[in-house]
């Protein structure tokens, strides 16, 4: 019996356990195309593998393990790309570099699950607007990885802010914007050299004002086209899901019974992948009432929304979001720039957390991504002022573990549990202080950024030979 993979969830994952490769050059062998499958589900596979590094023992640090625990005078051992041990007193392995982190803090690397780096890169010139396939309201057929420019200096700035993984999403013009991708924040000549091995694909969808503004009021005419209203938004999603369900039925039948192979449709490949539970839905949605409609729609068609993004009104329905099991991916304090952002409040994140729902601090910004720790700190302090007293060690879940969950990579990164990827930041002090900087950033155990060492600070091609090349940014 034939088996159909909508996407390759596991491709490459197995290889990650292999020790330090040379990264983009000799990446792991990819899952081969097999005649048993009608087409390759992973045609642009990750070529990333961990960069080599001697074992590192960090000592005397205040460690937030990312799962709610805080260890004073703690030690952390990074070995073979993994968190090898965490505790009070650890033995120094042979050949290990010891970093005395007296007075400093150590956390899991920050994961931003809403970025457009590379797709809307710097410089933001007309030739670089690759984040939105505005040509139609349903463009589930596009993959953002095909629009990412790996020379975006924004990746380096994010690294200096302690970001070790990120999800790049298509924009929010469309009802279905296309596939998102999860990246390791490592410099590379290619997008494939940045792709987080084995991370599931995601689908970007958008609620509300953007799709109806772009399509309904667009094209210089009145009316532009569909959707023109929120009613049209919902009808547009539902029509697409009906087509996707039919498409999936055909392929499931073909997989089970053979016969004539159905014709392939890139758009429906992705939507059917969602219905099969293999592609995670990340949906731009500001208003509480719209999120409630979307949750019902997902039940109508048998899929799940993994995370609502921006979600400025999540605080109004945090109980419903907790029951449903969707994360809210939020700014600390953005509000007011359009009507659906009008009810934004700075206590949104702690109020969602307080209701037992999954809270995530996201950026959607090449500036915000550089200091997500500060964004979390603002929300944390604003919560405290209204009696929502979350310990810092728990609040850090907004920055690493919860976004990892939303990307389906939490078993491999997002906390400092032994065996997980050694994605680690050493901060100059308490990362909830404005005066604190990321001193050193490790990705899979390799030192990829060092604030005090120019040789360990990447410079993308675009900045070479330009004013300010290699400067402290």
């Amino acid at each position: 019996m034939k088996r159909r993979n909508w996407v390759a969830l596991a491709a490459g994952a197995i290889f990650l356990a292999a020790c330090g490769g040379s990264g983009e050059g000799d990446g792991p062998a990819i899952k081969p195309f097999t005649p048993n499958e009608p087409f390759d589900p992973d045609p642009y596979p990750s070529t990333y593998s961990a960069y080599p590094n001697a074992p590192v023992l960090i000592t005397n640090a205040t460690i937030l393990d990312g799962e709610g625990a805080r260890i004073e005078d703690g030690s952390l051992l990074l070995q073979d790309g993994k968190v090898a041990a965490i505790g009070a007193d650890l033995e120094v392995p042979e050949g290990a570099t010891v970093i005395d982190a007296e007075g400093r803090w150590v956390t899991p690397g920050i994961i931003d699950n809403h970025s457009h780096l590379g797709a809307y890169p710097s410089p933001s010139v007309s030739a670089h607007q690759d984040g939105n396939e505005v040509s139609g309201p349903v463009t589930a057929e596009v993959w953002v990885e095909h629009g990412i420019w790996p020379q975006d200096p924004g990746f380096d700035r994010a690294l200096a802010g302690g970001v070790t993984s990120l999800q790049v999403l298509p924009g929010s013009a469309n009802l279905f914007g296309g596939r998102g991708i999860t990246l390791k924040n490592v410099a590379s000549r290619t997008v494939q050299g940045m792709k987080f091995p084995g991370a599931p694909y995601t689908l970007k969808m958008a609620c509300g004002e953007n799709p109806k503004r772009v399509y309904g009021y667009g094209n210089g005419g009145f009316p532009g086209g569909a959707p023109y209203s929120r009613m049209g938004n919902m009808a547009g999603y539902r029509a697409a899901w009906i087509k996707a369900a039919e498409y999936k039925r055909k392929w499931d039948k073909y997989s089970a019974e053979g016969g004539e192979m159905p014709s392939r449709d890139l758009e429906l490949d992705t939507l059917a992948g969602v219905l099969a539970g293999e592609i995670l839905v990340h949906m731009h949605c500001y208003r509480a009432d719209e999120m409630a409609q979307i949750m019902d729609m997902s039940k109508e068609f048998g899929y799940k929304v993994t995370a609502f993004h921006h979600a400025v009104e999540s605080y109004k329905i945090a109980d419903k979001l907790a029951d449903y099991g969707a994360c809210s991916s939020m700014w600390a304090d953005w509000w007011g720039f359009k009507m659906e952002a009008y009810d934004g409040i700075p206590e949104n994140i702690p109020m969602v957390h307080n209701a037992g729902a999954c809270a995530i601090v996201h950026s959607d910004s090449d500036i915000g991504i550089q200091r997500l720790n500060q964004e979390a700190a603002k929300a944390w302090a604003d919560g405290k002022r209204v009696g929502i007293d979350v310990p810092i060690e728990e609040a850090w879940e907004w920055l690493s573990l919860n976004p990892a969950k939303s990307l389906g990579i939490d078993s491999r990164t997002g906390s400092l549990k032994p065996g997980k990827m050694a994605d680690v930041v050493i901060w100059s002090g308490n990362p909830f202080s404005v005066y604190t900087k990321a001193d050193q950033v490790f990705i899979d155990g390799a030192l990829m950024y060092d604030r005090s060492d120019n040789s360990v600070r990447p410079v993308r091609d675009f900045e070479l030979g330009q004013p300010g090349e290699g400067d402290m940014k």
Partner: protein, 423 residues
């Protein structure tokens, strides 16, 4: 914490002189003055009749009947050196956006204060963030000349203190090139011709003569700036654009300039210092967003400050709703090398100096009583304002945001919808 010294006397005083006669004492574990007095440990600020009466150590005499507010920190009210607070309610809704006028026939004469609405919700949000005054400019729409900027307090009152015509705002660099017809040469041709038009006002316009660029009303509005009687604020980013502005300044010594943006200002910092041209920077700018910002760095503010340039720090990323983030941005400037005291001045003393607001931005006897009590270091991201005084009056610390928050703070089911929960 608020308590009364001899409460009965206070009530009598209010009865006799009205609310403005109330005397307030602010006690701060740290009182940052913005003056040579520096930061006073366990300091006291006495306010009466809208004016600061005394600033000193804990032994300072506290008038009987004064209401006492104790806080971790006490500082002057913050002054946002560049903002759109009060002229935009919701950016994306044209009907509520009075910053831009793409179809207007006017430019330099557009007066942003005509669009100021003290009821805009961002005014309250800014005040709750410790911002007591905002410098507000229109957005350039049809040419380089955005129009006239103003300074307003953030009381949200219909009696808001507004200082109109505080400065003329002009955009150069890439933005100016686009507005002037497509190139920097086009922008400079327009600017030079407009300055000539304004200098020739009203002579050349009498008897029906026309300007090369400016209509009669626009020439009239630009005339004070063109004659050195009004500040010209210019948006420019790259070192090359900044040098071009400084060339203009050198050949027009009577004109008064300040620069907004100046992302590459650190590269020409010595010249800016020599010409005494102050800059208003967005401290987070550190990406080559355009070819005019290639050398942008978060150390810009520190390097300019070190070179002796007057530096104000603002938020240019949603300056309408989030002017208050100037504290976080200044804190980051400190993390990137700026002296803490100078970073505080960049939010208070320096904006007051740029706009000639004498007696604002400092805590000193005789100064205007715009004062903020904070629950921590004002530049820390975890700090909030506990109390805000504007012209000596304690301000309401609620906003539409706090009401929304309080409505939904508890999601326990009640027997009526949330619309019945009125905070």
């Amino acid at each position: 914490m608020i308590r009364k010294l001899m409460a009965s006397a206070a009530i009598a005083a209010v009865a006799a002189f009205g609310a403005s006669a109330q005397t307030y004492v602010l006690e701060g574990k740290k009182v940052w003055t913005g003056t040579d007095a520096g930061t006073i440990d366990n300091g006291v600020v006495v306010i009466r009749n809208g004016t600061i009466m005394a600033v000193g150590p804990s032994a300072t005499t506290k008038p009987e009947g004064a209401e006492v507010i104790s806080a971790e920190w006490v500082t002057p009210g913050l002054i946002s050196a560049f903002s759109r607070t009060g002229i935009i309610e919701v950016d994306a809704e044209d009907s509520t956006n009075d910053a831009v006028a793409a179809l207007s026939g006017f430019s330099a004469s557009l007066d942003a204060s005509d669009g100021f609405n003290p009821d805009d919700t961002a005014v309250d949000v800014s005040r709750l963030g410790g911002v007591t005054r905002v410098a507000v400019a229109p957005q350039p729409s049809t040419n380089l000349f955005a129009g006239q900027g103003f300074i307003a307090d953030t009381t949200g009152s219909q009696e808001t203190d507004i200082k109109p015509d505080a400065f003329t705002f002009i955009t150069l660099g890439e933005g100016g090139a686009g507005l002037a017809g497509g190139s920097r040469p086009a922008a400079w041709a327009q600017l030079r011709a407009a300055l000539d038009d304004a200098r020739a006002y009203p002579t050349r316009y009498i008897a029906g003569g026309e300007g090369d660029v400016l209509s009669r009303r626009d020439a009239e509005a630009l005339a004070p700036a063109a004659r050195g009687r009004q500040l010209i604020l210019i948006d420019a980013r790259s070192a090359t654009d900044l040098n071009a502005v400084m060339d203009l300044a050198e050949s027009n010594r009577n004109l008064k300039f300040a620069i907004l943006g100046a992302d590459e200002g650190w590269r020409v910092a010595d010249r800016l210092a020599k010409l005494k041209i102050p800059v208003i920077v967005y401290g987070f700018a550190n990406l080559p967003v355009s070819f005019a910002q290639l050398a942008a760095t978060q150390e810009n503010a520190a390097r300019l400050d070190e070179a002796g340039v007057q530096v104000a720090i603002v938020n240019l990323d949603d300056s309408t709703h989030m002017a208050r983030l100037m504290t976080q941005i200044a804190g980051n400037a400190v993390a990137n090398g700026m002296d803490w005291n100078d970073a505080m001045k960049a939010l208070t003393v320096t904006p007051a100096s740029i706009y000639g607001l004498s007696g604002y931005g400092i805590l000193a006897p005789g100064a205007h009583a715009d004062v903020v009590a904070w629950d921590g270091d004002p530049l820390e991201v975890t700090t909030n304002a506990d109390a805000v005084f504007i012209d000596g009056e304690p301000q309401d610390m609620t906003s539409r945001q706090t009401e929304l928050r309080d409505r939904y703070l508890s999601l326990e089911q009640t027997d009526r919808p949330y619309a019945y929960v009125k905070p």
